[in-house]
């Protein structure tokens, strides 16, 4: 269950076709290859897919992944078990909890409700794709700083929903954050800190300090 760099089953991909030609023929063959590839694509579309594995090409976090998947494989499972991107979590596998949330062309979706074959052609962003060159996004930083997580299992989903929220609404109110993350469940009860994190990252409001009242036995006397 390793990610496949080259798709063996997809004998007619443009890449393998071009590779099979001599280097001198590449230029003249390129336009032919275009036509051939599109014809093959059209032919494939007419045929029912499956039940066996079919080639699936996903663009995830800016990289192209060529996978061999049964058509019934969900995007969640394709990411987790075939691309080994396990930051996308399975919580319910039926569109209730949001732990599997990813961005599809910038829009948050439940990846458990999307077949991997239907996610082809879209730019998919998972939790692994938020930080660039090890640099956390402001939202990720603020999740850590404000402790907007406990066990951490729902965190990926919340982060992606909140990332989409901030892209659409850079200065969300408390109610906006609640609405923007309403598709995500957290059983540890990190929601209040998640509101802090999103508003702090957006520069709307700094998370409040924890209130400690010093106490000793004499105070109680």
């Amino acid at each position: 269950m390793k990610p496949r760099k080259e798709s063996i089953g997809a004998r007619f991909t443009r890449r393998t076709f071009i590779k099979s030609l001599g280097a001198t023929a590449v230029t003249s063959a390129a336009s032919f290859a275009e036509v051939s590839a599109s014809e093959m694509k059209a032919a494939r579309e007419e045929m029912p897919l499956g039940p066996g594995a079919v080639p699936v090409t996903l663009r995830v976090n800016g990289k192209v992944l060529n996978l061999e998947l049964e058509p019934r494989v969900t995007l969640t499972d394709a990411l987790r078990y075939h691309a080994e991107l396990t930051g996308t979590k399975t919580g319910c596998d039926r569109a209730s909890c949001g732990a599997c949330t990813v961005l599809l062309d910038g829009e948050p979706v439940y990846s458990c409700m999307k077949l991997a074959i239907d996610a082809q052609g879209s730019e998919i962003t998972t939790i692994e794709g938020l930080a660039r060159d090890g640099q956390l996004t402001a939202l990720q930083e603020s999740f850590v700083e404000t402790d907007a997580l406990q066990c951490g299992f729902c965190t990926s989903g919340f982060l992606l929903s909140a990332t989409a929220l901030l892209a659409a609404n850079p200065a969300p109110s408390r109610e906006d954050v609640k609405h923007g993350c309403s598709g995500n469940l957290c059983r540890c009860g990190s929601q209040p800190h998640i509101v802090h994190a999103v508003q702090q990252a957006a520069g709307v409001k700094k998370a409040p300090q924890v209130e400690l009242i010093p106490m000793n036995r004499e105070d109680l006397a």
């Binding site: 269950m1 049964e70 019934r72 078990y81 080994e84 991107l85 396990t86 930051g87 996308t88 979590k89 919580g91 319910c92 596998d93 039926r94 569109a95 209730s96 909890c97 732990a99 998972t126 939790i127 692994e128 938020l130 956390l136 990720q140 999740f143 850590v144 700083e145 402790d147 997580l149 406990q150 066990c151 951490g152 299992f153 729902c154 965190t155 990926s156 609640k178 609405h179 993350c181 309403s182 995500n184 469940l185 957290c186 059983r187 540890c188 009860g189 990190s190 929601q191 209040p192 800190h193 300090q209 924890v210 209130e211 400690l212 009242i213 106490m215 000793n216 105070d219 109680l220 006397a221």
Partner: protein, 724 residues
């Protein structure tokens, strides 16, 4: 140097958790995420009926599915089934899809038998028996003190009430499960557990290998709340599947559906309570007759670990004269397990509801009534602070006096949790460059234990926490107990403290320097020829303590036309001794409250009396509080260093449902006595609908409690044992 430094440099200051970065980048690897070379997916085949005998399973059909590598039975056939969802067999295959094909292919032959899935039906003399040998009602667990009958008789005011709470499901975000590699001799499991050693011992025992040949790792786990202590049937089956495939790693994580059936729940509670006070409003007498229902069995007998049907009574404001009489009732449903402060949220809901009933009967402010009867100076202080924050004096009105359609209400409740720490060991490796590795076989269940370990060490050694690497979640590390009972911080902190004190002594001895802490540390360590190791264990000392108190206040608005309960604000005042890390502490308080909101208003596992199945085995019908349901939560922590380190996961959860129930009753002037308080119950209790189902449910409850009492006259051997 056997005590804390006088001033703290690292503790009691907000510290982001050390594994935060791993969690926000998706790199934190949970049991669900481990993908060892050659791993197989696995699923469990479950009983399709609530009671019966499975006579055959078409295992061959499962094995014939392409990609399937192993099929094992959970128990020999014919197998007795006592609840819907009981484990029958398990399949391992190259893909999830092949597993699911195999589940469909393996037809189950079952002889169905009568069942009973509802508590109030199970107590009927003619109800189907879950176990043939004895009835569904247990022997009594009785306790008496003083002379309750006489004290009740002498009381100037008495009140009585009937209360019930629903079965709640733990529903951690990461389901139960393990990735297990077992070649018949050595076993390695990555477990989603609250106790690595318990799982190790369970798996080694089930597989018949020495404990030394089994290892369990829990680097990250996605929540447990009391349900994830043992290896469980799912762990045992994963090990058997791995063995059957010659040692290929098997990933057996439950589905959300599985999760709702077979891996524990908070037992339902049913009670009649009565209280008597003297003319000064002091509680003199308390009586409770009740029963709890932990499914078909207590946790212990279902590979499920602890968890029983009892709940505390007369414990927050104890009367000197009390009679408590509890039984357990068995039904054909998944077994109970420990659930965040086992028994306490229902017990406190019952007790604190009765407190408000009494305050009303005495025509006394309910806060004043509590302060008059609360023997804990800490909790009295917490009640006073909380009252100030919520504006009790200015805004409290008598029940039902809020005008208009949308009625405002205030309520409060107290909490106590008294489980002490213990059973924890740690070792410290000090390197010549001054860096430190601390190993402790505890685990971080989301509470921040992996952050606590280096912080406590940094405080004792007086060095930069970044020099310290804490390693936990592995049975190769020194033994530490399971993370439950709010015991982790009070167990682990003293063990780390002791190990560090011993490390200081060892480094002083080797370096010839006297005090090696702080600025001297690097110089002293530089004199070491090789890394040294010091051991430590939990001992009574400056960090060991017990007894956490709390008080919560809730402000609600209830729409009397729709029954909708809008939580406006919650104030929580808690102590946990020395606050190790205020930031993660507040996370826990929020979490306890939010889970309490679920128990108060939404959560209810519903059984179908006709088919015997769980009707809401998923997140869309078993309702958890969501983003929109969460009010402003005002958390105040008392920092009380001289009391040592206390855990707070449980005490912060205990009073929430009671405080909400009291606030709703205060708004309405009518009390909903059964949890969850749904809009339908509110409307029915108000008589706003043609359906008086709520009143009828109380009559059913009264009748059931009478029936339970009637078994006292039966021969004791016909009764089951009380499920503790």
């Amino acid at each position: 140097m056997k005590t804390w430094p006088d001033t703290l440099e690292h503790l009691s200051k907000p510290r982001p958790r050390v594994d935060g970065r791993e969690k926000v980048t998706g790199r934190a690897e949970y049991a669900y995420d481990v993908l060892p070379q050659g791993w197989l997916y696995a699923v469990i085949l479950r009983a399709p009926v609530a009671a019966g005998t499975v006579t055959g399973i078409d295992l061959k059909a499962g094995r014939r599915v392409p990609g399937v590598r192993a099929v094992v039975l959970s128990q020999p056939l014919p197998a007795r089934v006592r609840f819907y969802g009981q484990e029958l067999a398990a399949v391992a295959a190259e893909t999830r899809e092949a597993c699911e094909d195999a589940l469909r292919a393996m037809k189950v032959q079952v002889r169905e038998e009568p069942f009973v899935v509802q508590e109030l039906e199970a107590v009927h003399p003619h109800a189907s028996r879950v176990f043939e040998e004895y009835g569904n009602i247990s022997k009594a667990k009785e306790s008496r003190q003083g002379d309750p009958e006489a004290a009740m008789e002498d009381s100037s005011t008495t009140v009585e009430g009937y209360y019930a709470t629903a079965v709640n499901l733990h529903q951690p975000m990461e389901t139960h499960g393990n990735t297990v590699r077992f070649n018949g001799e050595e076993l390695l499991a990555w477990s989603s557990t609250q106790g690595v050693f318990g799982v190790r011992d369970g798996l080694a025992g089930a597989m018949g290998i020495p404990l030394s040949k089994a290892r369990v790792i829990t680097r990250y786990m996605g929540g447990g709340f009391g349900s994830k202590f043992p290896a469980g049937a799912e762990g045992r089956l994963a090990a058997e599947l791995s063995k059957a495939t010659g040692g290929r790693p098997v990933k057996l994580m439950l589905t959300r559906f599985d999760e709702s059936l077979a891996v524990g729940n908070r037992p339902s509670c049913f009670a009649r309570v009565k209280m008597g006070t003297d003319s000064n409003g002091r509680i003199k007498a308390y009586e409770m007759t009740g029963f709890g229902c932990a499914g078909y069995a207590g946790g212990g007998s279902s590979e499920g670990g602890s968890g029983g049907a009892s709940f505390p009574a007369n414990h927050l404001y104890p009367a000197e004269n009390a009679r408590i009489d509890q039984r357990s009732v068995t039904i054909n449903a998944g077994s109970g397990r420990a659930f965040r402060a086992p028994g306490h949220p229902p017990g406190v809901f019952i007790q604190e509801s009765l407190m408000d009933q009494m305050a009303l009967a005495l025509d006394m402010d309910p806060l004043e009534f509590r302060l008059r009867n609360d023997d804990s100076p800490i909790r009295r202080k917490e009640f006073e602070l909380g009252a100030e924050r919520i504006g009790w004096k200015e805004t409290y009105r008598k029940p039902g006096s809020s005008p208009g359609v949308i009625k405002k209400g205030l309520g409060c409740a107290g909490s106590y949790w008294g489980v002490p720490g213990g059973d924890s060991n740690a070792e410290v490796q000090v390197n010549p460059d001054g860096s430190v590795v601390i190993r402790c076989g505890t685990q971080d269940i989301g509470t921040g234990t992996s952050t606590l370990v280096p912080l406590v060490a940094a405080e004792v050694l007086r060095i930069d926490p970044n020099l310290i690497k804490g390693e936990i979640g592995d049975t190769r590390f020194p033994y530490s107990g399971g993370s439950g009972g709010s015991r982790t911080a009070p167990s682990v902190a003293p063990a780390v403290f002791d190990a560090c004190v011993n490390a200081l002594e060892a480094v002083a001895g080797k370096s010839g320097m006297k005090d090696v802490r702080g600025e001297k540390w690097t110089e002293a360590c530089g004199k070491l020829r090789y890394p040294i190791v010091a051991q430590g264990e939990w001992k009574k000392g400056p960090l060991s303590s017990r007894g956490a108190y709390g008080a919560q206040f809730v402000e609600v608005e209830v729409d009397t036309e729709t029954g909708f309960i809008d939580l406006k604000r919650i104030v929580a005042v808690h102590d946990c001794g020395l606050v190790i890390n205020p930031l993660t502490a507040r996370s826990q308080v929020n979490g306890g409250i939010i889970m309490g909101i679920g128990g108060a208003l939404y959560e209810d596992r519903i059984m179908d009396p006709v088919s015997g199945v769980v009707l809401n085995p998923n997140y869309e019908t078993y309702k958890l509080p969501g983003m929109a349901d969460i009010p402003e939560i005002d958390v105040v922590l008392l920092n009380f260093p001289e009391r040592g380190v206390l855990g707070m996961g449980e005490p912060v959860h205990i009073p929430t449902s009671a405080a909400i129930a009291n606030a709703v009753a205060n708004a309405l002037g009518v009390r909903v006595q059964t949890l969850p308080i749904t809009p339908a119950k509110v409307l029915s209790a108000l008589g706003q609908t043609g359906d008086d189902f709520y009143q009828r449910s109380l009559s059913d409850l009264q009748r059931a409690l009478q029936r339970v009492n009637e078994v006292a006259s039966l021969p004791q051997e016909t009764l089951s044992e009380f499920v503790v």
